[in-house]
């Protein structure tokens, strides 16, 4: 069988990839914000562990650096910043009302099957033995995007955005044993800057419309602004 031809380390990488997919689903379904941040932190840690194991299996030492970077950034720094943001916005106990969580989970499962089907021709090429993870990584990216669509709370959308990057990273590591380090560092710092900017924006949004429900951002339309201006002139 296919699985038994791999070494134990490679099998462990598969297990970690499957757990990363599980954390993606957990992010989709988790109604409590703090729990979602913790799930995101776990996802980062699992991706880092998978990278380190692949470094050990393939003997590529620069992957150790990537693993350490991911661990530091995705599993520690960014969750800590999100934690701080949540505390400043006083949202620790916030529980989001999900619209049709069962439907969202089913859509997630359909996306996974679809990604598998899309990746099939690529998976037949002779890439690294862990090419099967490509389908999982693509699913993680798309599930992150689904999370941004399905959740209304703005902080959840940030987490969805970050988990998309996790999926991309996993795909790069699995298929081509890592991106060039320069690209790696660039993307990592982009993500960090994005996290800082999101934090600043959210405070501003909350001050102007008194809520962080992104559906209410549609209040800032042209007609509303004109009406507000006319009110201001009179």
């Amino acid at each position: 069988m296919n699985l038994l031809h791999l070494t134990l380390t490679e099998q462990a990488v598969f297990v970690l990839a499957a757990l990363v997919l599980f954390t993606s689903f957990a992010l989709l379904a988790q109604a409590r914000l703090l729990a979602a941040v913790h799930a995101f932190a776990w996802q980062g840690a699992l991706v880092a562990a998978a990278t380190a194991l692949m470094a050990a299996a393939g003997g590529e030492s620069h992957l150790y650096l990537s693993a350490a970077l991911t661990l530091g950034l995705k599993a520690i720094l960014i969750p800590w910043m999100l934690h701080r943001l949540i505390r400043r916005l006083a949202l620790e106990r916030h529980v989001e009302s999900m619209t049709h969580p069962a439907l969202v989970t089913m859509a997630g499962a359909a996306i996974v099957i679809f990604c598998y089907w899309v990746v099939l021709p690529i998976a037949r090429l002779e890439l690294a033995a862990t090419r099967n993870i490509l389908a999982i990584s693509l699913s993680v990216v798309l599930l992150g995007l689904l999370m941004m669509v399905a959740r209304r709370q703005a902080v959840s959308q940030v987490i969805g955005f970050m988990s998309m990057e996790n999926g991309l990273f996993l795909a790069a590591v699995a298929a081509t044993s890592g991106m060039p380090l320069v690209v790696e560092l660039g993307v990592a710092f982009d993500v960090l800057v994005a996290a800082v900017l999101f934090g600043v924006f959210f405070l501003q949004i909350r001050d102007s419309i008194d809520s962080l429900d992104v559906d209410r951002l549609n209040r800032l339309t042209e007609t509303e602004l004109e009406a507000a201006e006319q009110e201001g002139e009179r």
């Binding site: 049709h100 439907l103 099957i113 598998y116 089907w117 099939l120």
Partner: protein, 667 residues
């Protein structure tokens, strides 16, 4: 002419005699009524023998009837597939013949003429038998129409109530839309062949696109008649309204005739199968199964619950057919045959246990004049035999060992689990998910029938009529006993039954399921003994041994007996019948968990003493599909009335324009 074909034609002639008797003199004397039902029973026996004969004969036999058009005479053919579907017709007819004399006695003194009931029942069974025997599209459609129209009259039998008339109208409308779709499907096939008889349709060469069009039309038409979601809305309206033995025939047999039509069209006539069809059938079947079971759980009218449960079971049959299509089109011949056998077995099983349940519901209706389960209760102590047979029906339909429902579901699961043979990874993940939906259906069905049996037969009686109910006549009991015995036998002796059913794939595809029965009559091994093996007789013996052994051991050690006392009442005064859990309360958790799938209208009206709780659970399909289609049709019709301007000159102008157009086309 072969003997089994003679039996089949003999059964039709007997039914014709019965119908004539029913129309003319059945309603005046009870002795003639009994003769009528004896004729129905004889016809059933003849049909049963014809079916068994056809399943044991190697090749099909056919004959040409002296009816029909000069260039298109009616041809009748009895092969293994037709013979298999004659079995439910025969078995249920025998049950109805035993049940009928006792049951229709209550209609004899009512306002509705019994002649209608008797005559049209005969015509209805003739229609179904001819559909199964037809060998050309013309006879098939004539028989299909006969079946639909005569059952309309039966559904509209108690037409004093407006609701019954509406239900009958909906039934007739959908039967005809389905019939039209089937006719168009045959038309597509005939367009590529050179005749309307099945032999020329079989040899018609269709391009994949036209084959899919024909498949789509047939699936729509036969699916509508079989009751697949979302075209099922007529089923829960029409089946409860008919007299109970007619409901048993409609749910038990007519839906199977629709399945027969689908199998004949797709597996026999079309030719090369495509895997996309299999996925579509599998998806629709799974959705029907789950939705049918969910809605059945919410019903409080016992016959409506059974009608929705028919939707669920037809969904299960189509899951098997979908699996068969997927496997056959990808070249896994043996697995496709296994799935087909599982679907056929389930069709036969459903005919048996659904008829049993409807006859039982009819017995309750006869004894207590109640159809609403919320007014029933404690019937097991007042009608012990009906209660026992209804319990057997409930266990069978919930797919629990060792009865027959479990065998067919087990076979369907085994077929689904062979999905690892498929090359496509997407199919390899979709098929087990469909199997998980089947598991959900089984669990929901069991919940629904715990509710039905528990609320209706157990507990305390909730109304005066039910408290005064008494056991029904021996004839009605005999009919239920006959079906219950068959449920048990088909459950513990699956190997001889599969040997019989095996004739169908052998005749359709050339090879059957030899190794399923290769290990003797005791062991059922669909693929191989190491893959899966089941011995229902040993399971039954072990259950009886352990249960009986425990009882005997406890009796033998002379332990203290039993004392009767009041139930535990938590310190309050004696609990009465209104403190019991009602059916609505039983299904409340499911209603809450699956809320988005229903259309729930729940309110508390009134003040103080006059407060009333109102709950209505209706089908989502009405608002999503039927209402928009109906209003669309009405709007289109209103637009077209523009044509009827009332001016004579406008009408003459239309005639002139049409004449000119026709002349131009001809030239």
């Amino acid at each position: 002419m072969a003997i089994h074909l003679q039996f089949a034609l003999g059964s039709i002639l007997t039914l014709l005699a019965a119908a004539l008797l029913g129309f003319t003199c059945g309603q005046h004397s009870s002795r003639l009524r009994r003769l009528y039902f004896v004729l129905i029973g004889v016809a059933g026996v003849l049909a049963l023998l014809a079916g068994l004969g056809a399943l044991n004969t190697a090749g099909p036999v056919s004959v040409e009837l002296p009816f029909g058009l000069p260039w298109l005479p009616w041809q009748v053919r009895l092969d293994a597939l037709s013979g298999f579907f004659l079995l439910p017709i025969g078995l249920v007819s025998i049950a109805v013949s035993l049940y009928g004399p006792g049951y229709v006695r209550e209609f004899a003194h009512g306002g509705d003429p019994l002649a209608v009931l008797g005559g049209f029942t005969g015509l209805f069974i003739i229609g179904m038998s001819l559909v199964v025997l037809a060998d050309d599209a013309f006879l098939f459609m004539v028989a299909w129409e006969l079946m639909s129209v005569s059952s309309y009259f039966l559904v509209a039998f108690q037409h004093e109530q407006a609701a019954n008339r509406r239900a009958a109208f909906l039934y007739l409308l959908m039967a005809h839309i389905g019939g039209l779709s089937i006719l168009l499907g045959y038309g597509v096939l005939a367009g590529f062949g050179h005749g309307f008889d099945f032999d020329s349709l079989r040899t018609a060469e269709l391009s994949p696109l036209w084959a899919t069009v024909a498949f789509g039309l047939a699936f729509l038409g036969f699916g509508m008649k079989a009751g697949l979601v979302p075209l099922h809305a007529w089923l829960p309206e029409a089946h409860p309204v008919a007299p109970s033995h007619i409901s048993a025939m409609m749910s038990g047999v007519m839906l199977k005739v629709a399945v027969y039509g689908f199998i004949r069209f797709v597996f026999d006539l079309i030719g090369t199968l495509q895997w996309g069809w299999g996925v579509a059938v599998l998806a629709v079947g799974s959705v029907s199964a789950v939705m049918g079971a969910l809605y059945a759980l919410q019903q409080n009218d016992i016959k409506r619950l059974l009608a929705y449960s028919s939707v669920e079971n037809i969904g299960i049959v189509f899951i098997g057919l979908g699996l068969s299509l997927v496997f056959l089109s990808s070249g896994h011949h043996l697995l496709g045959v296994l799935a087909l056998v599982a679907a056929l077995y389930h069709a036969l099983n459903h005919a048996l246990f659904k008829s049993l349940l409807f006859l039982g519901a009819g017995a309750v209706l006869h004894a207590s004049h109640e159809r609403d389960m919320e007014h029933m209760g404690g019937l097991l102590r007042r009608m012990p035999w009906t209660g026992l047979f209804f319990l057997i029906g409930c266990i069978s339909i919930s797919a629990l060992p060792p009865f027959n429902g479990f065998v067919s579901e087990w076979l369907t699961f085994q077929a689904a689990l062979q999905a690892w043979h498929l090359e496509s990874g997407v199919l390899r993940s979709l098929v087990p998910i469909a199997a998980a939906m089947l598991a959900l259906t089984g669990a929901l069905a069991a919940a629904g029938f715990v509710k039905a049996y528990g609320v209706a037969f157990l507990g305390q009686a909730r109304s005066r009529h039910v408290r005064r109910a008494r056991e029904v006549s021996p004839g009605m009991l005999a009919a239920q006993a006959w079906l219950a015995l068959l449920c048990l036998l088909l459950g513990i002796l699956p190997v001889p039954v599969i040997n019989l059913i095996d004739a169908v794939p052998v005749q359709l595809f050339g090879s059957g399921l030899e190794q399923a029965t290769a290990h003797g009559w005791l062991w059922l091994t669909p693929i191989a003994p190491e893959t899966a093996s089941y011995s229902p007789l040993l399971v039954l013996l072990a259950l009886a041994l352990v249960g009986g052994g425990a009882y005997w051991l406890l009796k033998r050690f002379g332990l203290p007996g039993t004392r009767r006392a009041d139930a535990w009442d938590c310190g309050f005064s004696a609990p009465d019948a209104r403190m019991q859990y009602t059916g609505t309360a039983f299904s409340q958790p499911m209603r809450r968990v699956f809320r988005p799938l229903f259309r729930i209208d729940e309110a508390v009206d009134g003040e103080g003493e006059g407060r009333r709780y109102r709950l209505q659970v209706s089908d989502r399909a009405w608002a999503l599909l039927y209402a928009p289609v109906a209003s669309g049709v009405q709007r289109a019709a209103r637009r077209i009335t523009w044509l009827q301007s009332g001016s004579v000159r406008a009408y003459l102008g239309w005639s002139l324009a049409t004449l000119l157009a026709l002349l131009w086309v001809i030239s």
